[in-house]
Symmetry: C2
Subunit: 327 residues, 2 copies
């Protein structure tokens, strides 16, 4: 068998309506649908090479040999691809992120999206967008949203086959910006996999899940109409709702830091001054400030003036996961 | 008619299981029962004097003439007492708090408890504890819990007549301490009356209300058994649950400040080090640290070492509302 190799690029995404908690942990079926924007500037580039020369799967993440659980998740994903392709050989995986990992910037989303595309292509498979999204979902739920381009909706679905993400608007639909305030680069105290498993132990969980459909429908309509004044409060409410579930799970998970609350107040006072900007959070302390392109520079400037701000990362809507090269 | 005058003292209380949202705003009937500890060190002393010499009700709070809404709430309460006593004359009210007002330290609880007792006694009424608790409830919901001494439970009830607080254990039952970290003395952005009215607009409200009965039963049992390891996590969960409702109401209310989150993390790490302390919040940013008397000095010492700490107030369980003098 000849060497089979492919490189793919995928983007992280920021969810406007979040996913927290699963209906089926084995299949990574979410408790509710979600809505997100791919982030052009936050990329993972992954090369997968299947070769009979390798005795074992070798995984390099950001220049370091992956070990333990991190490696195991990737090997399990390679196994899925090998099973689909009827392939027996081991692989070498090299993956590079353009942004800090494990700080609530959804590196697993871009990572498993790029891995799904690179591995399937290297294995000789030509999967449809839908098939790729389903495959990516098995690696990390939110990775399925990083397969299509622009603004995507992950429909919870009723089974593995209909739980995948679709584009609802292309990147050029709306010049939104995610201005990310990095206030901590520390790894999360509790990883998302464990967090999702704890979600149902919160007394607020069922109410949150039940509330999502309405909020998502309103947010989707606002997004399609480019109505930030309607979309923004829905985004904020959903982020708070998710963190409320986290903080009331048993045991509770506190992802927020003092700077997270500081920025919640800051965003409100900026808005009162006429700057149209809204906040959201992933499963971490860093704050994603959502605004239109015209306000990006001002939001960035104000963020950089805040004491304790480690870094500000700005991104517009990004394209779909793409193959960069294949051999 | 002769001068009728009485002075009463009442204590603020800290709720271990909170009340947020009302079944009936007119009668101040709460959506759920609540559980609290009176705070010996946080007192309001109120003198009420009914006299035909006054042309209008005069209200002095902490040495300042009350005006507007603050005065109106007190006048409405005097009207209730006048109606009960068949009294027509105006009153002079002088009230002094031993602690900062409007910063989530439940000044309205001790205030309306002291006012209810002083005014009813000055009006010549000898109300039972139950009647006083019901009267205080009309002034401010949580004030009904400041009428009996020690640890009290406010049963939500089904009507005005059975919605009042009872003692579940006297102050000497358990040497608990509330070590209050004052990180802000600013007045609340949204007062409790408005906040209670907004509560049902949160998509998490019904789930929170439905969850209280179980949590309260467990907390009450733990309190009676002096089992802080069981009581503490229930107190924390309930406080987070209340703030989750606040932050997801429409519009949302963010009472927390950066220091609030800092102390949530701090308490967790102190506990990991073996210091048995738990946090709770009222409708404000200040953090109430609950511990046993033996740990009070250490909790206090650690709090005072934290930058930005304005003041630390310590209180043990306090007695019932009492008449200080009557004429």
């Amino acid at each position: 068998m000849s060497v089979q190799k492919a490189t793919a690029i995928a983007r992280a995404n920021i969810a406007f309506i979040k996913f927290w908690g699963q209906r089926d942990a084995e299949l990574n079926l979410p408790a509710n649908s979600s809505l997100s924007m791919n982030l052009a500037g936050l990329t993972t580039i992954t090369t997968v090479e299947f070769s009979p020369d390798y005795d074992d799967d070798l995984v390099s993440l950001d220049g370091r040999e992956a070990r333990g659980e991190a490696r195991q998740r990737i090997v399990a994903h390679l196994d899925r691809v090998r099973a689909m392709a009827g392939l027996q050989v081991k692989a070498r995986v090299i993956s590079e992120n353009s942004f800090p990992v494990g700080a609530g910037l959804a590196s697993s989303a871009s990572g498993f999206a790029a891995l799904s595309l690179a591995a399937s292509r290297a294995a000789g498979l030509a999967l449809s967008e839908r098939e790729l999204s389903i495959l990516a979902r098995f690696g990390s739920g939110s990775a399925c949203r990083s397969i299509p381009g622009g603004f995507t909706e992950w429909t919870a679905g009723t089974s593995s086959e209909d739980s995948f993400a679709r584009q609802i608007a292309p990147p050029e639909h709306w010049e939104l910006r995610d201005v990310i305030a990095i206030i901590s680069r520390a790894h999360k105290p509790v990883g998302s996999i464990k967090g999702h498993a704890l979600a149902p132990s919160s007394h607020l969980y069922q109410a949150r899940v039940a509330s999502v459909a309405d909020r998502l429908a309103q947010a989707k309509a606002a997004l399609l109409e480019k109505d930030l004044a309607t979309l923004g409060p829905l985004i904020e409410e959903d982020a708070i709702s998710m963190h409320a579930v986290m903080m009331t799970s048993r045991p509770p998970i506190y992802y927020w830091l003092p700077g997270s609350i500081q920025l919640i107040h800051q965003v409100q006072s900026w808005r009162a001054e006429g700057l149209e900007v809204y906040f959201t959070f992933d499963a971490g302390p860093n704050v994603h400030l959502i605004c239109q392109a015209a306000d990006q520079a001002e939001v960035e400037r104000r963020l950089r003036d805040i004491a304790g701000m480690l870094e500000v990362i700005v991104s517009g809507p990004g394209p779909e996961a793409r193959v960069v090269e294949s051999f």
